[in-house]
């Protein structure tokens, strides 16, 4: 039995998995904070504890994500694009296009039949089009992130934000709240803004079916529906979308170990 570990240090949340025969045997998440190195160590301890094993039983570790380079104990490093691609193929072998909505950036990846990345687009310059915008607005509305999806689905009149900028969006949302606009319309407006940005990013990438979502943003049912409606696509949803990239990292560890 060979065990491999994948560590995905995202800008907001860190995710880790241990895989056994390509399937997730243990998983853990932690807020990334600002000391990525320490966060990664803690995440590793959580994972080993949860699996009930010692670190010597892990054959190899791959680190990924925006803080991946700071994971001292990693044997390998890989880009989050490659890891998301590997991870989604393990969950849905027929997927050729992945839309990953992360805490601070969104990625659109197109794959070939072997799971190799053909093309991708990434929103890394600004927080528009990422779940970060949603976090900013949820905070001012004092709504827990897990409640955002269900609440937003009640909206019949989503707010039209004038820009995708999360900072200006916050100011605009405050004005709307002052005018008495209900929170569900503001949240649905944020979903619309993120979905529009993702949609325009996707225009530049040659996408083929099947399509899947990944990343923490895919836990938001309102956002999923909005992205689906905006893009006019049916999107497959993994059971634990936030761990797809970490799972992919663990698979990369296995591939490299075996070669």
């Amino acid at each position: 039995m060979s065990l491999f570990m994948g560590i995905d240090i995202g800008s907001i949340t860190s995710k880790g998995v241990i895989i056994c025969e390509n399937q997730i045997a243990a998983y853990a998440t932690l807020p990334s904070g600002i000391a990525y190195r320490a966060t990664a160590e803690k995440l590793k301890d959580h994972l080993l504890g949860s699996a009930g094993i010692g670190s010597e039983e892990i054959k190899a570790v791959t680190a990924t994500g925006s803080g991946g380079s700071q994971v001292g104990f990693a044997d390998y490093h890989a880009s989050s694009i490659v890891c998301s691609a590997r991870g989604i193929m393990a969950v849905f072998p027929l997927v050729r296009s992945v839309i990953d909505i992360g805490g601070q950036s969104s990625q659109i990846i197109s794959l070939d039949d072997k799971g190799q990345v053909i093309d991708f687009a990434i929103s890394e310059i600004c927080a528009a089009g990422s779940a970060r915008f949603l976090q900013v607005i949820a905070r001012i509305l004092q709504i827990d992130l897990q409640d955002v999806g269900p609440l937003s689905l009640k909206s019949s009149n989503p707010v039209n934000f004038t820009t995708g900028c999360a900072v200006f969006g916050e100011t605009e949302a405050i004005s709307r709240i002052a005018q008495g606009v209900p929170p569900e319309d503001i949240l649905a407006g944020v979903h619309k803004s993120i979905a529009d940005k993702i949609h325009s990013m996707a225009m530049g990438v040659n996408l083929k079916p099947e399509y899947a979502l990944s990343g923490g943003g895919a836990l938001d049912t309102g956002l999923v529906k909005r992205v689906q409606d905006t893009m006019g696509l049916s999107l497959l949803l993994p059971p634990m979308p936030q761990f797809v990239t970490a799972q992919g990292a663990a698979l990369v560890a296995k591939e490299r170990w075996n070669n």
């Binding site: 600002i34 600004c126 820009t163 200006f168």
Partner: protein
């Protein structure tokens, strides 16, 4: 010259996204009143109070103002103005009143930035950013809130830096994290803040280059009150900038100067504008308001 009866006054009202500004000038274009107050959704009434305060400074009633021009983000919703003029036009006019030789105007406001190129006292090109918080006063405010430092202190501390750090993020939200990360790694606050002012200036200067920058450059807007930003702009432009003593009111000043022109043109045509219909009531910003 008018025939020594009642003196003539002209007002410019600039309703910006963050601040409302009112300037009153007389027939000789002397500045008689300049008042600045917050706009904001919660401060609608304050925008109106700014006008009342300006009238109070001169000691006149609203009816004594011969002509009023409104400009800025909320200009369409000023019920007591005779005419609306875009902020680009008013702004250029206000700066030219103060610095007739100006060739490039760079304005950084609370939520936008713009650059104007002037030739023979006319605007020949301009560029604006109101879509992204980077390179606007909002960027500095977000960092100030994050560090719980007043903007003025942030500017003063920044000026002590000898080795500004490079802020690589363009997005305000990413830069906010970058600043925190630098500080958590033990970087000097002055170096981080100097890097942040530099990043803001670099972003605006990059935009301004798209229309061509030529000295003399005048730097206006609320952000021009920040000495660290003035220095960062000069470093990035590679030339000195001129800053008006009150860089917030140039739009309102230009609007007042345009009000004076309009009044005289109408009078020459024998059409003296009626001022009785003015209503000094609440200014509405988000209901049918237009941008730019």
């Amino acid at each position: 010259m008018s025939h020594n009866q009642t003196p003539l006054y002209f007002a410019g009202v600039d309703i910006g996204s963050t601040m409302s500004k009112v300037v009153i000038i007389d027939e000789e274009q002397n500045l008689r009143a300049a008042v600045i107050g917050p706009t904001g959704a919660e401060h609608r009434r304050r925008a109106n109070e700014v006008m009342i305060e300006a009238l109070g400074q001169v000691g006149i009633a609203l009816e004594s103002v011969a002509f009023i021009v409104a400009t800025g983000y909320g200009r369409l919703n000023v019920p007591f103005a005779e005419q609306q003029v875009t902020e680009i036009t008013c702004h250029a006019r206000g700066v030219m009143t103060l610095f007739p030789e100006v060739t490039t105007i760079i304005d950084i406001g609370g939520q936008d930035a713009k650059a104007l190129r002037i030739q023979n006292h006319k605007i020949v090109d301009f560029i604006t950013n109101d879509k992204c918080a980077a390179g606007t006063g909002r960027f500095l405010e977000v960092i100030a809130e994050t560090l719980d430092l007043p903007l003025y202190d942030m500017s003063q501390i920044s000026l002590k830096s000898s080795r500004p750090l490079q802020i690589t993020s363009i997005c305000t939200i990413f830069a906010q994290q970058e600043v925190i990360r630098y500080l958590s790694e033990g970087a000097a606050l002055s170096d981080v803040l100097a890097g942040m002012h530099d990043a803001t200036a670099a972003r605006v200067v990059r935009m301004a280059h798209r229309i061509g920058i030529q000295a003399p450059v005048v730097f206006t807007g609320g952000v021009a009150l920040n000495p660290a930003m003035v220095r960062a702009m000069e470093d990035n432009l590679g030339c000195p900038v001129m800053v008006p003593s009150n860089p917030l009111i140039t739009g309102a000043l230009g609007a007042a100067a345009i009000a004076r022109d309009k009044y005289h043109r109408l009078t020459a045509e024998g059409r003296i504008p009626a001022v009785s219909a003015r209503r000094l009531e609440e200014i509405r910003l988000f209901e049918g308001g237009a941008k730019t």
